[in-house]
Structures are given as structure tokens and as C-alpha cells.
Symmetry: C2
Subunit: 466 residues, 2 copies
């Protein structure tokens, strides 16, 4: 399923030294290893040789030093919600579980920053800061860890208004290959003081160092908030509406596309009664008058494109129900074919090409023997396809891989990217050359070699060693 890689296993002597160092926080138990060898990707389990549960930065430093000493890979692990095999230790070695480093370190409400340990999850973060009147908007659906979200440059439904982890990580603390603890930036909102180490580590998927602290931007909870559903008779009308709304400068907080298949799945899974056509799910944030104004503008534009009347979810409970249903879209998808193997993929294109890209992809998928659905953070030009395969069918897997390849090449051809938010992991590695060119990969490889000369950190991901 994934390429055979040279293995660097933890031998008995090394394991003994890990055990001495970490005591109870070191495990070679098969169930623990299996859990840490599983993510939300279509790949089979790939177990590490052992798992270390880090409790503090010093533990991470110790783990890095031991891995250097014994020349074994170290793979960071948060929640295991990655979609493309990021956390699978395909070259053997030790998984470093950071979920116990789950403390909020500092809330600097006046500065709109919060500093957390990497194992803090996004829902926990929002619960713990709610009393300040602030919130952390990045919302990839899964209740991912903040460290993991930084590592994959995650985004989600709010990104059209608030940006992605790229824009919202202020500073990181990372443990380097030398076992040094480096802070990548101050808490100043902006800086021109040297290379942007923060952005270099954001999205590096654990291949350059281990993130042990993350400072993120937070925002005032909007004074008013409203959500609405708008149905369309065609996908093109929905997407065209989004393009026009963006061009009109309407600052929507969220605008999500679901195709009729996705709506059906969500209705079934979450007992909703959404009209089963392609639809857009809007949310507007701001003052009451701004929210009203933006919603009205959006409605005028959707009407001009054959959209039906907005159905409002004004009450907080209705809104929560709607967004919860949207967020459970992945699980709703799984129920489209119980027992199936789910393959999710995402691409992102310049918004002018979005309608074409979605339409061509749907037409390609309609020729397949397996069910699928399409959802998208369409304000960003980003959409997802979930394919539900017969777990035992090699031919369905091959066909889904071929669809995925055509989708990615289509997106790249349209000056887009092979992944808008899921990340590279293993599954998208082969496309980076097509997207960036060999010379850009050479630069990435030089950076990897310079910062991780022993190839300890999550080897075999993003860019091949040679």
C-alpha cells in the first residue's frame, strides 16, 4: 500500500535505554503501538516500534537525543486525525505522543494571543478561553491538536475570513535535531527580523523538528452571528455565487459547499431535513447591522444565480446543529457505504477555476462504481472528495487512485495545489514534483538536509531524502 522503505528499527539495547529514561511513559505494548500506527488515511496500520508519551519539553529533548544516538526515526503524534498518512512510521522507529502536553500556557487577551502546549485540542482551547470573549477560529472539522494543526498548516471552514494556521500561528517553540529548544519568533504582530522560521515549521509535518509550544492569534467573539442555507439546482450556480460574493468584497465568515450526495448523507447521519440539492452554507460575523447587510448582499447575489431563498438558522441551537452536521460530514460519508474504506482527498485552485474543477471532477467520479460526495471550503477555492471503496477490491482502489491523480493534475494545471489543507503525508508526495518542479523540491530537500542531517524527524514524508 505504501512504498517499501528502509527500516531503522529500535533494537533491544536502545529500547532498554528509552525504558530507563521514560519509565511508564515508554510503551512497546501492541495495542498502544497499533493506535499510534493508525490515522484517518486509507492506509493500513503501520506500527511504530515503541511509543513515548512526552510530558514536557525536556522529555522531547531527551527523545530527540536518544533517537539521534540510536539512529532511529521519531514521529510526532497528536490525535491521529491526519488524512494522508502523516503519522505512519513507515521507516520504523519511535512515535512521540504529545497529547499529554495539553496545558494552556498563557492567555494574553489584550494582545489577542494564546500560548498552548502542542497536545491542546482546538475545542479545549475554545472552551478554556471562552470567558475572555475571544475565540480561536481555525476549524478543520476534526478536534485536532493545535500542534498537529500547525504541522499540517490546517484550515477549515473559517479560513475564508480568518486565514489558516499559516496566518494564525504567531510563534512556535521547537526542539531541533541538535536537541536545542528554539523559539521561532516573538509575540509581536509583525516582524522583519530575519528568516521566517515560524512559517518554515508550520506545514512541515514533523519533518524538521518537534513543536513543543504554539502561540496562536485569537479574535473577539463576533457581536452578532447568523447562518443560512441556500439551495441551488446546479453546482455551477452555487460556485458562481461564491465567486461573485467574494468579488463583491462581502466578508463572509464561512461559505461551505455541499453537493446533493453530501446533503443526503448528512441528512441521514444527523437526522437533518436539508433540501437535497447542491447547497451553500453561510455564516456571517460582525455587528448586527453588518451581519444583516452582508447577508442581504449575499442573498441578492445567490438569487441572481438561481439560488433559492435563504433558510436562516438564527438561534444558536439551530446554528450549532447545522455546523455540527457539516463537521460530521466525514462520518456521514462513511455511512454511505458501511464497512467501506474511505479515501478523502482535497485540492485548492484559484477561485476563477473552481466551478470547472469541481464539475470535471464530479463528471469523472460519476463514471466510477463507488459512491462519493463533494464538499468544499469554496470561498478559498478548496474542495474535498470522499470516495467509499469496497475494502477488499483492488480494482476500486486502483480506480480511486486514478481519479485522485486526475483530480490533482487537473488542479495543478489550473494553477492550484495538490492539497489545500490535508497536507502531503505519504499520499500526496508523488505530486509535489508536478506542482512545484524538481528545482523547488531540491530547495526543500536542502532545507531538510540542513535542519535534520540524520533524517530522524518523520522520515519519508513530504520530500524524499534523495
Amino acid at each position: 500500500m505504501f512504498p517499501q522503505r528502509p527500516q531503522r528499527r529500535l533494537n533491544a539495547q536502545a529500547a532498554a535505554e528509552f525504558a530507563t529514561t521514560f519509565g511508564d511513559c515508554f510503551s512497546t505494548n501492541a495495542a498502544v503501538r497499533e493506535q499510534h500506527g493508525t490515522d484517518e488515511s486509507p492506509y493500513p496500520v503501520c506500527m511504530p516500534d515503541a511509543v513515548v508519551f512526552a510530558q514536557c519539553t525536556e522529555d522531547v529533548v531527551r527523545a530527540v537525543r536518544l533517537c539521534q544516538r540510536w539512529n532511529v526515526p521519531l514521529v510526532p503524534f497528536g490525535v491521529g486525525s491526519s488524512m494522508e498518512g502523516h503519522i505512519l512510521p513507515i521507516e520504523g522507529g519511535v512515535t512521540l505522543d504529545l497529547s499529554r502536553m495539553n496545558r494552556i500556557v498563557a492567555v494574553n487577551a489584550e494582545d489577542f494571543t494564546v500560548t498552548v502546549q502542542p497536545g491542546v485540542r482546538r475545542q479545549q482551547l475554545n472552551e478554556e478561553i471562552r470567558h475572555t470573549g475571544l475565540f480561536f477560529p481555525i476549524d478543520p472539522g476534526a478536534d485536532a491538536s493545535i500542534g498537529g494543526m500547525a504541522s499540517t498548516r490546517a484550515s477549515g471552514t473559517n479560513a475564508v475570513r480568518y486565514g489558516t494556521m499559516r496566518e494564525n500561528v504567531v510563534s512556535l517553540k521547537v526542539v531541533t535535531a541538535d536537541g536545542d529548544v528554539v523559539r521561532t519568533s516573538s509575540r509581536a504582530r509583525k516582524s522583519s527580523a530575519g528568516y521566517d522560521l515560524t512559517r518554515l515549521f508550520v506545514g512541515s509535518e514533523g519533518t524538521l523538528g518537534i513543536i513543543v509550544e504554539v502561540t496562536v492569534r485569537v479574535y473577539p467573539l463576533p457581536e452578532a452571528l447568523s447562518a443560512a442555507v441556500c439551495n441551488f439546482s446546479s453546482l455551477q450556480d452555487a460556485v458562481t455565487s461564491v465567486i461573485e460574493i467574494m468579488q463583491a468584497g462581502v466578508p463572509v465568515a464561512r461559505v461551505e459547499f455541499m453537493d446533493d450526495r453530501a446533503v443526503r448523507a448528512v441528512n441521514r447521519y444527523s437526522q437533518m431535513s436539508l433540501r437535497e440539492t447542491p447547497l451553500l452554507l453561510f455564516e456571517f460575523h460582525g455587528s448586527p447591522s453588518a451581519v444583516a447587510e452582508h447577508a442581504q448582499l449575499a442573498q441578492e447575489i445567490t438569487r441572481g444565480n438561481g439560488g433559492m431563498d435563504f433558510e436562516w438558522a438564527e438561534q444558536p441551537e439551530e446554528r450549532t446543529r447545522l455546523w455540527t452536521a457539516r463537521h460530521k460530514g466525514y462520518f456521514a460519508g462513511l455511512q454511505m457505504r458501511p464497512g467501506a474504506r474511505s479515501v478523502s482527498t482535497d485540492v485548492c485552485v484559484p477561485i476563477s477555476r473552481l466551478a470547472d474543477c469541481v464539475a470535471e471532477t464530479v463528471s469523472d467520479l460519476e463514471a466510477m462504481p463507488f459512491p462519493f460526495k463533494v464538499v468544499g471550503h469554496v470561498g478559498d477555492g478548496n474542495f474535498h472528495v470522499q470516495m467509499l471503496l469496497d475494502a477488499n477490491s483492488q480494482s476500486e482502489w486502483d480506480q480511486s487512485e486514478a481519479v485522485n491523480r486526475r483530480l490533482v493534475l487537473r488542479a495543478i494545471q489550473m494553477d492550484g495545489t495538490c492539497t489545500g489543507e490535508h497536507g502531503v503525508g505519504i499520499h500526496k508526495m508523488e505530486f509535489l514534483k508536478e506542482e512545484h518542479g524538481e528545482e523547488a523540491l531540491t530547495l526543500m530537500r536542502k532545507i531538510k538536509h540542513a535542519l535534520d542531517p540524520g533524517n530522524i524527524f518523520n522520515p519519508g514524508k513530504i520530500v524524499s531524502w534523495d
Copy 2:
């Protein structure tokens, strides 16, 4: 004035090869070299051995290859508006003037992106795209080149609303040390496809490669726009107002602070009649009702902090006059002491520390024998000090250096940065260790060594070679 550095001069044989390659676009003329050895920093002229005027990417590739072959430094040059000595060829070598690469390559209005050659200036860009209803908001005051702005991670008055070059560069084309042409990213609004090469080159001040193309984000021209001046009796009241406005989530487009000295200088230089107290200069963008609402909220908050009534600049001409005066603040400062040597410095701190940082700095400056003024992009926690020194006085220079050092250390102590937007150049290099720590500088140095192993690109800037 600047540290003595080992020189790698262009010898006669190398110069002959450059001359053969570039013909008229190669110059060793003293006046040309002097112009390219001068920026807006307090440093004396530092002439390159020669200047190449690039007309196209292939010229840049040729220049890089020749510099590698002859082991001479290559220093990129846009307009020469850098403040900290960025473009001074302190280790000798060739200056690569990119100002003739000044074509708009593509306007993708639907996608809100514009692709330009690096020598395009920001005012030219805005003039050339005005008919599309879009604008490029980054505005550092100087009519800088877009390539230079990307290289210093520039920002300016609009950054509080629209971000800096960090957020607004979508993609770059760069020529690497190998003479390869690399595109750092697609035009997708977001991507998780590998290391963020774009952000690595943004702010790298020409030390990692030569930028030959920049794709930036552009925005719909706001439907409505209003500007206002608000006077205060104290600096603290003004800054406190800004903090509260930010905390209330009011999306101001610009909020600029000027101390009474700056106001006096601007009044004299631009024949304005602003009340000569500390003041804030606001601008609001949005729909007419949003602009009215935001302005009203801001006014309530300033009133609560002893601010006088807003004085509105409703008409486009008034607004332009006000902002032009603000943008000429640097030149107005020069007139505070004609013939003086101007030293400008900027720091950025978390906004909760801004009032303290400005107050302590002003108190320090008041003990100095030379005039000064303070202005700031205070919504970001960023402010500038301009000191006007007797050009012949070593003691005033020493005192200004000491003030600058205390200012920078104060900002770093407050978890801020030694430069919010001017960049490192030569003048801030010594502070990077204090700000980032030796281990972070080691990472930066590893990146420099990996991407520029011959130390050809703008050597002696940002981080020392060893």
C-alpha cells in the same frame, strides 16, 4: 561606520566577462555605482564594483552564474529606499538593479491576484490596476519596488487591516544559487503542499536568492472610505484608545500615531494646520453603513480616553492631502534639522506593552541633545523613531546608537521584535541574537549555508556566515 568585512572584488577579467555578457546593461561608472551604494540608512556610501541592469529573468540567471564563477557577491537593488543598509555591498561585488524589470505580468481580477516583475513600484501597481476596481494595500510610505517590499517583509499603514507582505505575497519566482528558476507556490489561496518556500524568501533581504516575479493579493476598492484625525493631550491616552479599539474588534483600516513633534514637522513641511498634540489618524473602509458604524465606535472609545472630537476628512482631496502629509513624515523630519544625518529605527511590541514602550522611549530621547519625532502603525504595536543628528558629531552618533540599543532591548524585553517592518540589513544584525537566541540563529545560518553555499547573495546581511 559598518564593520570591516572581507572583500571579494570584481577583477578585471571578471569585469570583462560581465561586460561581454551584458553590454550596455553593465556599468562601472562611478556615478552609477554611487547611486547603487546609497540607501535611506544612516550609513555612508558603499559602492559596488559594478552594476548590472537586469532586463529579464535570463539576465538574472546569467548574473548569478557569473558571480558564482568568479566568487563575487551579488546584491539585488530595487529603488534604494531601504532604511538599515540592506543594499550596501559591504563585501564588494556586483549590484543587480532590477528596476527595469517593471512590467505587470498578469492581472487575475477574479482571483484577487496580480503578478508583477520585481521592479514594479507600488504606486505604479495601483495605477495600473485601478480600472479593475482592485487595489494593493501594502504601503510602507516610500514608493518602493514590490521585489524590495517582499525582500524586507514590508508593511506600513494598512497592515492592521490587510496584513503585511508576509500575508500578501501569494507566490514568488526566484533564481537560486544554482541558477535555477523556482516558483515557490501556485496561485491557490492556501496550500499544505510542502515547506513554505514563499514565506522563507519573503523577508530574506536578498540573502537566499533573487526574486524575479511576485504574485500578490489585491482587494476590492472599498465602497466607502473615511478618514479622521483625533487629538489627545497625552501619548498614553492615544495609545490606550488604540488598544481598546482593537479589543472591541473594530476593523480599522489604518490607525497611525504621531507625537506632537511629528505633527509640528508635518505642518511645516506640508503646510498643514493639524493641532500640535499627540494624535491618531484613522481610516475606515467598508460599506457606507459599516464605515459609519466603525467610526462611531472608534469615536466613543477615544472620547472615553480624553480624545477630542474627530476632525473628518470626507472629501477624497482632503484625505489624500492628509495621507500624503503622513507619508512625507520622513522628509518632514529631515527638515527639523536641515543638513542633519537622519537615523530611523522601528520596533514592534505586543500591543499591551505599546504605551509603556513608547513612553519610556520618549523619556529616554528627551534627554538627548538632538531633535527627534515618533510615529507609529500603532494598531500593530509598531512605532518608528527618527533622530536628526549633527552629521559631524561622533558623540551624537554614539548617543543615538545607545538610544537605539536601549529601545531595541526594551522592545525585546517586552516580547517584541527589533524591527517591525524596516528589516535587519546591517544595523539590526547585532540584535537578532538577543531577540531569537543563538540556537535560532544557528537554524537561520544552516538555511543560508544550504541555499547559498558560496555566500554569493547579499553577504554580511541578516545573519553572519559563521
